[in-house]
């Protein structure tokens, strides 16, 4: 008892704090691994998850369309305006088409869309599942002999894997159109210049690269937010922590994956 009290009153040193964090992180990685395995097993129950996935895809697609298109429009416009600002006259105007299209398709479209959706869909998934966890709805599903993975996790992941790449393609198109329109406000660029520039350095692989990246981002947003929701503890405060954790972790993961995929897929 006396020893316990002494332990409790001893201030935590930096080594202990780091050690605890490392152990906590390792335990999350282990649990995430088993959670992913559960989700893969849940794929076998197609009849259960397919209708739910379609409803969820419709929800997140329609619900996120406006904000994704709005932000991609601004991103395209700002890219074009800044390009115009940096043009001093020695560079041919058609290059602006190349810059806008490449910036949007290769980077801004997929990454901005993923970051917006990490906030919108990731937070929603974590909060929904977290609330279900603390109100014992997930336990109830298990107690009925049903798989929470096929009822709750797989539909959300599949919906994200379908809709996030679709939203990314729409964001790319909107961003390019907004950039095209904006650049004409600040530079004497004709439509012919812009399309010539856009086509000159265009490779079909760029579009695939954009979609492949968004697919990976979708996987990380949906998996992390579902995992965070399922791991929720301690009531309303726990739901808040899970939601914040889901958004922060998936945002960091998006940026890490972005670097990794750029290195792997564009290093040809």
């Amino acid at each position: 008892m006396g020893e316990d009290k002494a332990m409790a009153s001893r201030p935590l040193d930096i080594g202990t704090i780091i050690g605890n964090r490392v152990l906590d992180g390792a335990s999350h990685v282990g649990r995430l691994f088993y959670f992913t395995l559960d989700a893969i097993r849940g794929l076998a129950e197609v009849k259960i998850w397919w209708p739910r996935a379609m409803a969820e895809a419709w929800n997140i697609g329609v619900g996120s369309l406006f904000i994704v298109l709005l932000i991609s429009s601004f991103a395209g416009a700002v890219t074009a305006l800044q390009t115009g600002y940096q043009f001093t006259g020695s560079i041919p105007y058609y290059v602006v088409g190349t810059l806008v299209v490449s910036s949007i398709v290769l980077e801004l479209g997929p990454v901005l869309t993923a970051l917006i959706l990490a906030g919108r869909i990731g937070a929603r998934y974590a909060a929904e599942l977290g609330t279900m966890r603390v109100t014992e709805q997930i336990d109830a599903l298990e107690s009925l002999g049903r798989s929470p993975a096929s009822h709750l996790v797989v539909p959300r992941i599949v919906a994200g894997l379908i809709m996030i790449p679709v939203l990314t393609v729409l964001a790319n198109v909107t961003g390019i159109l907004a950039g095209w329109w904006s650049v004409k406000l600040v530079l004497p660029v004709t439509d012919a210049d812009f399309t010539y520039g856009a086509q000159s350095y265009w490779r079909p692989w760029d579009a695939w690269y954009s979609v492949i990246k968004s697919f990976f981002f979708a996987g990380s947003i949906t998996l992390i937010s579902c995992y965070m929701g399922f791991s929720t503890q301690q009531g309303a405060e726990g739901v808040g922590k899970s939601t914040t954790g889901a958004v922060v972790t998936s945002s960091v993961l998006i940026l890490l994956l972005d670097t990794l995929l750029t290195r792997l897929l564009l290093n040809q």
């Binding site: 109100t135 014992e136 709805q137 336990d139 298990e142 107690s143 009925l144 002999g145 049903r146 798989s147």
Partner: protein
């Protein structure tokens, strides 16, 4: 038959169950009593495999719950109805869909005629009007109604065992009596084996044919209501004392 032997569970430094031995024979209704926070719900959840004990064995129908494979556990769970403390109804589904999820036979679950009939039957069994309640969402129901829908969901799969986690907690005495009466009636009409976790002594004496008192991580006494009343065990006396003084208990 449900048998727990030497079940131990701790959360961090807090020992919740410290070698619990507990048995439920077929057909009986057992009330597991104890003060709040003594691990009654943990014990109940370990029976259905929702919380894994640190040590000990949990056997249901001669099957060791924590040695079962995923499918075997799902199959075992399909014979056990679990009534959660706050109903644990699915917010996003109406009452019909909530009760339908309790139908554990997949063929019946997908047969819409059967579903309609069974949902109606289960809601009537728990004294709810199907026409009025079935299309509602859990948020539109009162606490007592939510508990009754939770019971309807638990019985929809025609279980052999019914586990109730504090079915009357948070209810006014009238609604608590309705739920107690329901537990008793379901045991008699459906012939299920029931385990009811509660700290409501009055309800337990009314419903159960055997009682068990869990305190300090152990079952300190098991017996009939009469044996409990006659007991000189200090913890049993202490636990019952408050309700003995209550006129409604005496009545």
């Amino acid at each position: 038959m449900i048998t727990l032997r030497g079940v131990k569970k701790r959360f961090g430094s807090q020992v919740v169950l410290d070698g619990v031995d507990f048995e439920v024979q077929e057909g009986e209704t057992v009330a597991l009593l104890g003060p709040s926070g003594t691990g009654k719900s943990v014990l109940l959840k370990s029976i259905i495999g929702l919380i894994k004990p640190d040590a000990g064995t949990v056997v249901v129908d001669e099957k060791e719950v924590f040695h079962l494979k995923r499918r075997e556990l799902a199959e075992l769970r399909s014979h056990i109805g679990y009534v959660f403390q706050n109903g644990a109804l699915f917010d996003s589904m109406d009452v019909t869909e909530n009760v339908r999820l309790g139908i554990t036979n997949e063929e019946q679950y997908n047969d819409l005629d059967y579903v309609h009939k069974r949902v109606k039957q289960c809601l009537e069994l728990v004294n709810l009007q199907p026409e009025a309640v079935a299309p509602k969402y859990p948020a539109e129901l009162s606490g007592g109604m939510r508990k009754r829908v939770g019971i309807a969901r638990a019985i929809a799969g025609e279980p052999k065992y019914l586990l109730y986690d504090e079915p009357t907690s948070g209810l006014d005495p009238v609604n608590a009596d309705i739920i107690d009466g329901l537990v008793q009636r379901l045991s008699q009409e459906l012939g299920v084996t029931s385990v009811m976790v509660t700290h409501d002594v009055r309800g337990a004496f009314r419903v159960a044919n055997r009682l068990a008192l869990l305190t300090g991580g152990k079952i300190v006494m098991q017996g009939t209501p009469q044996e409990f009343l006659a007991s000189q065990h200090p913890q049993v006396k202490e636990f019952l004392e408050r309700d003995f003084d209550n006129p409604s208990f005496a009545a």
